[in-house]
Amino acid sequence: MPDVLIDVRNIRTTFHIKEGVVPAIEGVSLQIGRQETVAIVGESGCGKSVTALTIMRLIQSPPGRIEQGAVIFEGEDLLKASEKRMRQIRGNDIAMIFQEPMTSLNPLLTVGFQIEESLILHQSLSKQEAYHKALGMLKRVDIPAPEQRMHEYPHQLSGGMRQRVMIAMALSCSPKLLIADEPTTALDVTIQAQIMILMNSLREEMGMAIMLITHDLGVVANMADRVIVMYAGQVVEEAPVNDLFAHPQHPYTQGLLLSVPRLDARVSKLNTISGTVPNLLYLPRGCRFNPRCSYAQERCQIESPGLTQVNDAHSVRCWFPLGMMGGKKQ
């Protein structure tokens, strides 16, 4: 990768609850280059969102705790930065949009106020300047009648419009990195596509990087440069998007790809990955995926595999990767 924007090194975040210590993410490392789109995929509870919140240092503490690792953003370790410094970075250098546009906007504040707020805070604009900039942002995210929308409240907007407002808010300070946590999951399919196209064009226009958290592989194929697959709090596979779709190395990745319904293949039943995500309090010994893996061997139940390089850009956490043929092997 030519120019690394953010380098996440070996982070571990835990939640201390009554039942014990839940290791939500364990030894997660990832890099995102400038203007790159990296997708993070995995089932619910695999640690995607926790990774994002750890980068932003927005883990609720207690019960959460960032135990180890480093988040190097433009040469600065965010995990060692002061809270004051983090506030300068949040919303300004790294912005975030969330899954639920219905609940992610404050119901009692106008759309305009919520966009202006970060402009006034980070760019020390006057109320007047902030208003015009915010209005400009609403136009950029293609909201009809933006002057009127500025004075409206979130409940007066549709779901898609609210997500556009969220995007306008997040991008108002021209961040270098946008973390989008399942930005389209709660929206209709047609609206999903519009939002994705919008995000992509704004990325090119503003030259920012996107960390896209999703479980929609269709979105990944269209948007991402690289893909990171997470399972039970760990990165299990990382590859350029085409490579990953063509030659998945981890049985879990293969399972994910196979479980996508296809229009050109008439099948009576969807493929599923058998079993369920393990409870992070009672992780299986050895490879975390072994109880659900159809290729599991004895070694998988004893030793946990590390991330190994398949080639320059492709790495996998598996004792018996599927190989470039992508087929079954003994």
């Binding site: 912005a95 969330f98 639920e100 119901p107 009692l108 707020e117 808010m169």
Partner: protein
């Protein structure tokens, strides 16, 4: 909006009518009547009593009595007391300032203390402060007002030399003494009853505020506010507080009626000359006119309070329109 207000007014009238019928029936069901408490009724002959009953219309059919009462009330006449012979409204008005003063000041203190305490307790959840507040409010809710009143009388009133009953020293009137003397006198009398009003009223509101704030700070939009880089203080004051205060508006509407009805127990123990005391005395003496006036004022205040709360919602919550 106008339509909504009209609807609510019609509802209010029907409600008041319902309340009046029910309380009239309950009152008539209570054993005895006003004549039993006049003087030693054994000294009166049956004919005397019957004459009195006829004079007051108590011998008429209950429905007729009710009708006569209603037709007077709609023109603002609540009748005269059987026992004092004075207009009921005048008797209540005379008692009102004492109750209003105690409860209004009490309410101000309750809100001033409970809201910040509840908010800080929620923001600093699981801190020593939070645990202390939780413990104290729990005790406050569990403790009966009369018991606290008695403790205060004995351990504070007697030791610090505060007046134990009444609300003013005889002769210390507003126009007749220096303002400072008057004020100090009233404050000294009010300290103990006010303490009971505030201490017993605090607990519920503090817990309510804490719960409401806790609910809000776990909302998605608070995370959004933090992700913008806002300071924690601004997140709480600008984004969380208004949302957390919304349910308090309802509560305020509901407690509104307490302002006038007062606390019978507290007024009794401290001989506070308020409406609560008058109400209890009237019930015991079956002074129908006074009791009915109380019920109606109470019902009206509850209706007015909830109407006020609903109107306040329009101001504080942009999502609500009527």
């Amino acid at each position: 909006m106008a339509r909504y207000i009209l609807n609510r007014t019609i509802q209010a009238v029907l409600l008041l009518l319902g309340v009046s019928i029910i309380s009239f029936v309950i009152m008539l069901l209570a054993p005895g009547g006003p004549t039993d408490f006049l003087i030693d009724s054994s000294m009166l002959s049956g004919e005397d009593l019957a004459a009195i009953r006829t004079a007051y219309g108590l011998d008429r059919h209950e429905a007729v009595q009710y009708w006569k009462w209603v037709s007077r009330v709609v023109v603002g006449d609540f009748g005269t007391s059987f026992h004092t012979g004075r207009p009921v409204l005048e008797m209540i008005m005379e008692r009102l300032p004492a109750t209003l003063a105690l409860n209004l000041i009490g309410m101000v203190f309750i809100y001033l203390i409970a809201l910040p305490t509840g908010i800080i307790s929620a923001v600093k959840q699981y801190s020593v402060f939070d645990y202390t507040v939780t413990l104290i409010t729990f005790l406050g809710q569990a403790m009966p007002a009369f018991w606290l009143a008695l403790l205060l009388l004995y351990y504070v009133g007697l030791k610090v030399d505060l007046p134990l009953s009444g609300m003013a020293t005889y002769g210390v009137e507003f126009k007749e003494v220096a303002f400072s003397v008057w004020l100090l006198d009233r404050v000294r009398y009010m300290v103990l009853p006010l303490s009971v009003v505030v201490l017993t009223g605090l607990a519920a509101l503090t817990r309510f505020m804490r719960a409401s704030m806790l609910d809000v700070i776990h909302q998605d939009y608070i995370r959004t506010a933090r992700a913008k880089g806002l300071s924690e203080l601004r997140v709480i004051t600008r984004h969380a507080l208004r949302n957390a205060l919304l349910p308090i508006v309802t509560l305020f509407g509901l407690t509104f009626s307490v302002l006038l009805s007062g606390s019978v127990v507290i007024e009794r123990i401290f001989s506070w000359p308020g409406v609560g005391q008058l109400a209890v005395d009237s019930i015991l003496k079956r002074d129908y006119q006074v009791v009915m006036a109380f019920n109606m004022i109470g019902a009206f205040m509850v209706i007015a309070g909830s109407f006020l709360a609903d109107m306040l919602y329009v101001v504080v919550d942009p999502r609500i329109k009527y």
